[in-house]
Symmetry: C5
Subunit: 364 residues, 5 copies
């Protein structure tokens, strides 16, 4: 996950707002539509924008979906056919990566971020939703067609989806996109739990890197998902005076709102937990240093005095046979064993000292 | 306490909102009811949903309680009999673990978390409460029947519980669930106090682990309990224009609200205290390292120069008898005692130096 | 200061809200009353609740004060005589330790915390205040009769206290309780300043403990005092539409509010300062470790190479007289002084190196 | 800068609010007045309160200024003459050090803090401002007469100050007091920049102390200045319905408000920067420890094995001439140079090892 | 980036608000204007203020732009000709560096900060915008004429810019200034990513300095940009009742607002990331210390006991031929190889110990 969500902006500083440009398209767009009214439902796989416009004019609900990044020509055409605001089209093209809800005269426009786990980290795909009279237009700038789940549910007649209008379809798609965060968060949660196990037992340099990466990714993810909450909340407040949403949708929007709150809650809890892990890591490293130093200190403290003693009897004063003060110990009968005795006593004293300090137990 | 409260969501991403599924039920549900009016009270142990519906139709207050996790069939049946909203039933089944209050046309629906101390950590059991015309329906997805306390109070006639309607019963059950947090918090408080005692005296690796676990659990617990406050607050604001709550219940709801605020206060204070403990732990570990290093440095600094001196007189220059510069000290009459004298002076000097540095006192 | 403010709650989980119980009373209650009207004032030392009720019925202002913890019988009697709400009585008895203002039909009920310095830390005593028609009832669950200050002021006729009604008396008592925090905060401030002096000069283990204790106590104290602000603010907002408070009391309540804000400000500043002290402590301990290590490193670095050199000439190759390569230095005329010269040069070089590193100055 | 702003409160806990007491006055008060109307302006140096009252009664604007701490008699007299509220007088006397705006029936009363740099740290002087009908009364409890700047501006006719009424004078004095913070903040900024330079190059114990002092002083200063913002904001909201402020003063108050916001912004930025410096300091100290330890480790690691080797050949096995296993190396022809060769190889290997570890470069 | 944004204030403490002074001008001002109406557009390069005033009186939209710092004379003249408020002129001159929107009777006045990357850090240039009847006056106190981008767009007829009035021009200039932040943030993002790579692999002292500089600059930049958000938000709320902005500009202002929110989001995310880097840096340095200490401890722990052993056999007890206890080992046939054997066993035991401790792997 990079920081580059603002780079698209960079290219066009100074150009007129609402200008579409020719951009390289990595995933070419494919457009399909579904139309339903009562028990009838027709699918239109792979049609063009003009054909879609014709279908929308019929009574009933039309769902137009574009999978992939639409190029400039398609956006221009959609703008003309459906009277879409130039700023909205610009947002579709530049992949702004910030959820928002714009209320234009002729349509409502929502941008959502669809989080996906790519095996290593989270990627966000922009999901655009327009709702206008008689139609919902969804544009998903990713490869995998996640909206198939809703399309399959549409196939079954007399479900809530089929008996309601465009508003419920709009809601169902938002619900789908928002709920994509749950499996991603589950993966995150598992990774965090895995880190926790390592943290207290074997804090390694890799762990530091992993904790940092998680913290950083959670901060970025949080920034990119939290406006979703505002989008849904705006939608809820708007349902009373807006023409697009029926009052009986309120409980569903409330439910959706609860999901966004739940997601933010989890993200923040994870972030806080990962932040504590950094603190604990530092303490663990210090503990480890203590262990190392304790070993060094014990060995040094026992042997340094002993080495001094043996050094004493390595001195060559004994060669001076004329002085009775010249290391007479060397000539004692039990001199050598006595030195050993003294050294053992010192070593034992040190061990007692360490035991009293509590340095011998492996527990700390 | 794990992070897995969102896993149930995971399974159904893309399915229609409000769908009930067949789930494995660990604690099978048992349904009983109580009906009271004036001085009369009847208990109906172990009946089914349809029988309960008949009782509700009678004048007076009916309390239906389900202990355990209701299976899909029971929920479907309850939904039809009491006209419960599908989203509410879904929440009952999926154990969302986030307190909330939903206002539906035919009933009010509250989810609460009942915290229980399982000996090692806190577990949360979902407690669902419906209030509709003439009845309160409570569903507790746990094993122990904590609602018995309210049932016993109902047995006594002319109490406030018996002379009020469904609203007071609803309140009494919420009060019961919310107050379960107090003994849990008491246990937490005792554990935190126990950690504090250890913290400053014997900071061990286990303590670090314990502090981290507490911090993490408090963060999760806080996330899972704080929406309770919002639920009660919504209830208070709603009593004026809602049909379910009589105005004289306001002081009781205020009291309940004060309890939730008190609980959150305690949780946050504990969390802040545990967070400080982590900082103090790090300082303690550093203090400990200082102690270790002081010992090492004292021993090393005293003996390293002495070892050097004895090394000097271990050199074999003395064998060179032709030069008067070849270690004449070895042949001095008091050479050996003199070396000892010099060494004692150096050692004493070091001890004075350490005393001046304040390294000898055990106080730091 | 302990965490146990919630333990009283613990005992009664599941019992009916508003239930009085028989509790052990540590400081038995004593009731007295004062009645005044115009220039007349009568004191009634040591009367019972029924007598107090009779006095209240007279024209003028009656102040009833209970010093100590009232037992169940007294509370029951007061409840009946003055029509006090059962939840209020329960709060009086259970010592909830959270300031709040409850507005009941027949009276206003405020709980305040009176902080007292017991020589070592802060203790909080619950102070309950009822205001009803013609009377103020204060219950102070402590030993020392702090309200004597107000009683003495009452003795003087034509003061603001005597010429105003129950509202001013109520305010005067709140002002008294709130202002008790100032001497306590002064003591805290002095302790913090004393810690600051020690912090940078002699950071000891005791200091760490003291800092932690202060931080912890400030967190708890802050939690237990900040709702006071809300109580006064509620009182201010309420004076317009409530019957209890005359408009000309507004500046006095504003002044009281400013005091509570000032207290919270001081508490938070202290808390932030103590939190910084923890950071500084850690740095101080590290500085200290640096000092220790610098000494060790200097001694070791100077003597280890020298010890190596003397070790070299302690080798016994010189005994091999057949080889001209066998330590010829031992037989040089100036061999021994030369070795000393080399060693002095090395030692001097090290000292120069340390001076360049800036390790010799005591300044760091 | 001390914590003692609450000590004055301490002395009077329990006394009646609004009571003036006899306090020691360190800077005796001097009163002067200025009266102006159209092109006329008269100065009255060194008059008494009764004379000032007479001037106020004339048509036009009267500015009464008191430099120093007024004693009890003067305050009592002012209270009677200008009908000042007892609580306001008490605030003037007790030096509460918290900016606030009190709206009394007969006058508006503002307390501001005038920050002054005394060469070492910031001192706050209380500046009181009353505005009533036809007069502004300012009381500055400091020595230096900073209001001279406004007095000089008054001398010039037809300026905005002279053509407006009391409201503009009131504003001009507030502007003067608020802007005193800018030179103080400039000094702070320079000190912080000076600390920054030292921080990364030579982190010393003095620096730790300086950082801590700055952090602490900024926290206290922030607490004592931020209510100023609220004072100005209250003034702005009030100008519509108050009688004291003309609508065309609004842009000037807005400008003043922007200054207070700017000051708080700077204070908070400084505080955050100083807080980061503490973190960086800790890292710097650790870096420094690493440097020390690297030197120790390099010296030790090179010489300890060498010292071992020379120790080996200091053993006296060579005296045993009967065994061919008794240190035959001592008798080799090239034994001694060979030992040196081995030692050089080991030392070189260690240097290579350190270079690979990156420990030799001074860069870290 | 320095802290000195408040220094200009410093010079004039005490002078009358709205006073212009003679200041040294580093970039002399150049004034040009553009007038357009329908398909006609005329450019007036390098004219004076009076000429500009004449153009403004014509029907259509006039854009007057001043590049550089206007001197006192020009500002005075502009003030008289366009009736600009003295406080606004003062703000233009003193370079306050805090975005704000002031609503004066005759015009709206906005101050924005235009961030520019000067190769090393961010510089802010003040951009002033006036909108009055029929004209927009922009003053950019920088050298490079960034507004050329808008001027070029104006050249093209029938664009949104040409068909709208002064309000759209005002918006287009704000949009230009706000969007200048994106390339700067991109540069920041790249630098932060570069730091991240270094952080975990080679934490050096330079990195600490770089992290600190970034954190500090982000804090200052955030302070200087965030009020922009408030400016745009005020503009949005104002468009309903203000005469300057047509309702159809609302979506554009909303878009602009989203950009400011996005910029603040990015700044805060960067700040949080850089803050975590500081924590990770500290852990990295500690890890590094662990590495160093592990090497020292391994070498010391292996060789210190061995050096003791060889020291033992360097003792001169063997010379005492009279005692059988005088180091008989020296005379053993296999004495010397035996000592080597013992030493190898000890060394091997130490290596096994280290492997068990996990100290040999380079992984941690």
């Amino acid at each position: 996950m990079g920081f580059d969500s603002h780079r698209d902006h960079t290219r066009k500083v100074g150009s007129a707002p609402g200008t579409l440009v020719d951009m390289p398209v990595t995933t070419p767009a494919r457009l399909w539509a579904v139309h339903y009214l009562g028990d009838d439902m027709t699918e239109y796989p792979d049609i063009d924008a003009d054909a879609a416009r014709v279908i929308v004019k019929k009574e009933g609900v039309t769902w137009i979906h574009i999978q992939g990044q639409p190029d400039r020509q398609l956006l221009d055409r959609l703008g003309i056919l459906f009277d879409l605001h130039p700023l909205a089209l610009e947002d579709v093209q530049t992949l702004v990566q910030r959820p928002k809800l714009d209320i234009y005269q002729e349509q409502l426009f929502a941008i959502l971020n669809l989080p996906r786990w790519n095996g290593e980290s989270v990627e966000l795909e922009q999901f655009n939703l327009f709702i206008g009279e008689g139609y919902v237009l969804s544009i998903h700038a990713g490869e995998e067609e996640v909206v198939q789940a809703v399309r399959r549910r549409l196939a079954k007649a007399r479900t809530r989806l089929r008996t309601h209008g465009t508003d419920y379809l709009f809601y169902a798609l938002m619900d789908l996109v928002v709920d994509q965060a749950f499996p991603v968060l589950e993966t995150f949660g598992e990774e965090v739990e895995a880190l926790e196990e390592v943290l207290l037992e074997r804090p390694s340099r890799d762990l530091l890197s992993a904790i940092y990466q998680h913290k950083r990714n959670l901060m970025i993810l949080r920034r990119q998902l939290w406006p979703t909450r505002e989008v849904v909340s705006q939608l809820m407040r708007g349902t009373n005076d807006e023409e697009y949403f029926a009052p009986d949708l309120q409980p569903f929007l409330q439910d959706l709102y609860d999901h966004t709150v739940h997601i933010m809650d989890l993200l923040e809890t994870y972030r806080d937990i990962v932040a504590s892990m950094l603190d604990v890591y530092l303490s663990s490293v210090s503990n480890r240093l203590n262990d190392i130093m304790r070993v060094l200190t014990m060995i040094s403290t026992i042997f340094i005095p002993l080495t001094f003693i043996v050094g004493v009897y390595g001195m060559n004063f004994g060669n001076n046979t004329k002085s009775p003060w010249a290391m007479p110990e060397l000539n004692w009968y039990y001199g050598y064993p006595l030195v050993w005795g003294v050294m053992l006593v010192i070593a034992a004293g040190m061990v007692v000292f360490f035991r009293r300090k509590g340095w011998l137990g492996g527990g700390r």
